[in-house]
């Protein structure tokens, strides 16, 4: 027979002002199964909790109902109090007679009646509660970071420095990401390589970090703490141990006219190449689509000149299997290129370039070794027009969001241009300047006032070539939308930041949700920005949305902290409010008939197939089984299952059924 304790709180007078708490206590005492019913001014206070604990011990209660505020407020408090008194915390329920009763109704019998209804409902529920133990899941203390840009590097270093092993997977031949392509960075004009390469070297030399470059994630199974990842190490056609990085092969390689991805198509590279001088690892890769040997079976010059015979033409892709406990997604972003804009000539005009291409022109390791020369004829451009919001904030083009970093790098570009071409005339067409970071506004102000960049508030409607000049048609909305035409030598489009190519496929491999623009979805935009809805998978950097370097680094450290917290305990402890498929004695073994229609109802792929075999190993039945690590306790499968074979702890069939009947004032047994 149940022995339930009911504790009614006055909450000072928040409850007692409109609810006759004495009457509720009396009514509760009369409910069958209630062994103790008392009211007190402040249940959540220490003396209040003492009352609950004493009652549990003295009357060895089998369940507790605290009629007070919302469970979202003090459920943990009272559950901890019950646990301290030896009662399983999941045998304690809150009856919300404040937010849902005393505060929202006038003083009167109806309000007190409702309070009694609520108490009776929760007493009925608590009689059906079961003692539950928290779920313990082992944790593999190895983290996998996907993406070797600044976010991935920072996350890897932080996790490694917290004493855990890290596997960093980077798709390109070298880590560094877009930051390695930049010339200088706002707002301090630090040289990008100077502040990045030490971190890259630190990653390569860190004992805890295993670096897989020119590699991609093949698949990921498992759940938080127990992922199994398969990484495809694409064949570099090189034995990395023998290669000393001398670079002789790249110098001698005859196939030299391949557009360099690192130089955003402006510079050229050979078929066997190291993307940039400070690459980590500084080991070349053979581009099999352009290498003459792979196309026509001839040449093999690199093999001949290589002092350590490190070239391996027959090398195959290799699959590496690793167990990891957490994954940090830091795959970064990409930008739209000039061929996306019809009004700017669909990429026809050579001197209409995008932001990354300008960075390469300005960079000392760029195709023009840092000299400001335009791609078409190598002349120094006298007049350069920078177009902000090229594609961003433009619903007609399907990119309605602001890409956040273009105002800042456009100001930086204009400033760099002026520093290199003192007599040059830079114009910036903008809609609104968004310089919200620390020292950002001052930086843009400096570009305007000290470097004489001509800021024109208005959109560029069309760019076309006319006798050697790029005619930029726009309007100056601060001067009465006066149409203006600028004959420019070069135009730099600050194009929209978009998701990386392949972001969607990677998200599908990890079951991580993403938005319409293929940016990964954070668990909560404000309160859980570095987590995803998939337990154990975290986010850092621009793969979640376009953002600048300081924010990416901050998010990377945030994600690393989450991973370190996850790895800080031997086992992962989770609330046991999850679904369970019933099991029974043979021959039934389970009421589940194995239709598995529940699998498509589960958003977390938490329902697996379990084969029940007889002692002779013969397959008797295939039934559903819930993976406690993955199930988040939504209960969608529970309401779907026809035979009610799957039930959720904390909101079980019996509990909610009892609540409905009790609320409508009918006894349990009245069938």
């Amino acid at each position: 027979m149940a022995r339930i304790g009911v504790f009614i709180c006055h909450c000072g007078e928040n409850i007692s002002a409109t609810v006759d708490v004495g009457k509720v206590a009396e009514a509760a005492a009369r409910i069958p199964g209630v062994a103790h019913s008392v009211d007190y001014k402040y249940m959540c206070s220490d003396p209040g909790q003492q009352m609950v604990q004493n009652a549990i011990r003295e009357k060895n209660l089998t369940g507790v109902v605290v009629a007070a505020c919302s469970p979202r407020m003090h459920e943990p408090t009272f559950r901890r109090a019950c646990a301290a008194a030896g009662l399983n915390p999941f045998l304690c329920e809150m009856a919300n007679i404040r937010e849902h009763c005393s505060w929202v109704h006038e003083k009167g019998d109806a309000t007190t009646e409702k309070a009694i209804d609520i108490v009776r409902t929760l007493v009925a529920k608590v009689k059906k509660n079961k003692a539950l133990q928290p779920i313990k899941v082992p944790v593999t203390k190895v983290a996998m970071v996907i993406g070797g840009g600044i976010a991935g590097i920072q996350a890897s270093l932080d996790i490694a420095n917290a004493g855990h092993r890290v596997i960093l997977v980077e798709r390109e031949p070298s880590i560094g990401g877009h930051m390695s392509q930049l010339s200088e960075t706002f707002p301090t004009l630090d040289c990008s390589q100077c502040i990045l390469t030490p971190r890259m070297v630190e990653v390569a030399q860190h004992a805890n970090i295993t670096l897989h470059t020119y590699s991609e994630l093949e698949s990921l199974e498992g759940f938080i703490g127990n992922f199994k990842a398969r990484i495809r190490k694409k064949a570099r056609s090189l034995d990395e141990k023998l290669c000393t990085g001398c670079g002789l092969c790249a110098q001698k390689c005859p196939t030299r006219r391949i557009a360099s991805e690192f130089d955003a198509g402006l510079g050229l590279r050979p078929a066997i190449y190291v993307p940039f001088p400070q690459a980590v690892p500084n080991k070349p890769v053979i581009d099999r689509e352009h290498c003459t040997y792979y196309l026509k079976g001839k040449c093999r010059l690199c093999e001949k000149v290589c002092p350590t015979q490190a070239i391996r033409f027959d090398q195959e892709d290799e699959i590496v299997e690793v167990d990891v406990g957490a994954v940090v997604l830091a795959t970064g972003f990409d930008i739209k290129h000039s061929d996306f804009f019809p009004e700017y000539g669909y990429g026809k005009h050579k001197d209409v370039i995008d932001g990354l291409q300008f960075e390469r022109l300005a960079s000392a390791s760029g195709p023009t070794l840092g000299e400001m020369r335009r791609p078409s004829d190598g002349k120094v451009p006298e007049t350069v027009v920078f177009v902000a919001c090229a594609g961003s904030r433009d619903p007609a083009k399907g990119i309605e969001y602001c890409s956040k970093i273009c105002c800042m790098y456009t100001a930086k570009h204009a400033m760099l241009y002026k520093h290199k071409v003192h007599h040059g005339k830079p114009y910036v067409f903008y809609m609104d300047i968004r310089a919200g970071g620390k020292m950002y506004e001052e930086f843009v102000r400096r570009a305007m006032e000290e470097d004489g960049v001509q800021y024109v508030r208005g959109r560029v409607s069309r760019i076309f070539e006319r006798n050697g000049k790029l005619v930029v048609k726009g309007a100056d909305t601060l001067l009465g939308a006066r149409p203006m035409e600028i004959e420019a030598d070069m135009v730099v489009l600050a194009t929209a930041g978009v998701a990386q190519a392949g972001a969607e496929e990677l998200a599908q491999k990890l079951h991580v949700s993403y938005d319409a623009h293929k940016f990964y979805a954070e668990a909560h935009p404000k309160l859980r920005p570095v987590e995803t809805n998939t337990a154990g998978i975290f986010l850092a950097g621009a793969c979640q949305a376009p953002k600048d370097i300081p924010e990416s680094v901050a998010q990377a450290s945030g994600a690393a902290a989450k991973v370190a917290a996850l790895f800080s305990q031997a086992e992962l402890v989770r609330e046991p409010l999850i679904a369970v498929v019933d099991r029974q004695a043979p021959p039934l073994y389970s009421s589940c008939v194995g239709c598995f229609l529940c699998q498509s109802a589960c958003p977390y792929q938490a329902i697996e197939k379990e084969e029940i075999r007889g002692r002779d190993g013969q397959l008797l039945k295939t039934v559903a089984k819930v993976n406690p690590g993955l199930c988040q306790g939504c209960g969608t499968c529970v309401a779907f299952c026809r035979t009610k074979s799957i039930d959720i702890q904390g909101f079980s069939h019996e509990q909610v059924h009892a609540e409905v009947l009790a609320l409508l004032n009918r006894g349990d047994r009245d069938a």
């Binding site: 008939v593 229609l597 069938a671």
Partner: protein, 266 residues
């Protein structure tokens, strides 16, 4: 009919199947299910307008499964049932042989792919007459409908013959038998009958293949097919989903589309 008998005798003689489930002549001119084990018995097989029962129901009975691989004389409804059972992981491919009567001769369908192709060829939507009958209900007033069904359900004995006849009611422990909590009241009073019939219809939503056996089995003649046809027409018109068309298909009720209509939600 003799093509059928010939085929059955040949299958049993060659032991390709252990039992042929077909129709035999029952009492009073009706047809009843027969289970042929020996080649000679094949002569009893018949197939004419009286053979309506959906024999696929026997595929789920343990007693029949024990007999080994079965060949089944399959009406279109039975073929749809086999595909729906396949979609619910209850029957495996190549574990049965469907004999689909086409005019005078018999089309053997050994794999789900063959059954799917055969099923796809014909039209399986609700017939015009069935649609019209549903329309008649829609035209009725709310009160008129309530009285109609109240009267129908008042005659329900809770004998659960409809559950026994339905090939898709194969759950080993049906929720009706669950008493902790007592979902469906045991006595055959009005509220209990309503809850049972609503639950039966809802549990067949997106699954029922409209074979009509539930209504034929009901001793008190409640037009149960109307409930299922109503849900079939809703599921197909609102979700464009049709059960029993493919061996591997998502269940309409356990999947969703982001743009499902929600005009009734405030």
């Amino acid at each position: 009919m003799n093509a059928l008998r010939e085929k059955a005798r040949e299958l049993l003689a060659a032991k390709t199947v252990q039992v042929v489930i077909g129709y035999g002549r029952g009492s009073g001119g009706s047809a009843r299910a027969v289970f042929m084990r020996a080649p000679a018995q094949a002569a009893e097989l018949i197939f004419d307008a009286t053979c309506l029962q959906n024999l696929a129901v026997y595929l789920m009975k343990p007693e029949v499964r024990k007999l080994g691989k079965a060949a089944l004389v399959a009406t279109p409804a039975a073929l749809r049932t086999i595909l729906q059972l396949a979609a619910e992981n209850q029957v495996a491919d190549n574990s049965l042989l469907a004999l689909a009567p086409v005019g005078e001769d018999i089309m053997p369908l050994a794999t789900f792919a063959a059954i799917e192709a055969h099923v796809a060829a014909a039209d399986h939507d609700l017939s015009a007459a069935e649609g019209a009958e549903l329309g008649k209900f829609a035209a009725m007033g709310l009160e008129e409908r309530r009285r109609f069904w109240e009267e129908q359900f008042s005659r329900c004995l809770k004998c659960y013959a409809c559950r026994a006849a339905c090939p898709l009611c194969y759950c080993t422990r049906c929720t009706v038998e669950c008493n902790q909590p007592q979902w469906i009241p045991v006595p055959a009073h009005d509220l209990g009958n309503l809850e049972w019939n609503v639950m039966r219809a809802m549990h067949l939503a997106g699954r029922c293949v409209n074979c009509g056996d539930c209504s034929r089995a009901c001793p008190v003649g409640i037009p149960l097919y109307l409930l299922n046809q109503k849900l079939i027409s809703d599921v197909s018109s609102v979700f464009q989903a049709r059960s029993g068309m493919a061996a591997r298909s998502d269940n309409a009720m356990s999947t969703f589309k982001p743009n499902d209509p929600e005009d009734f939600i405030r």
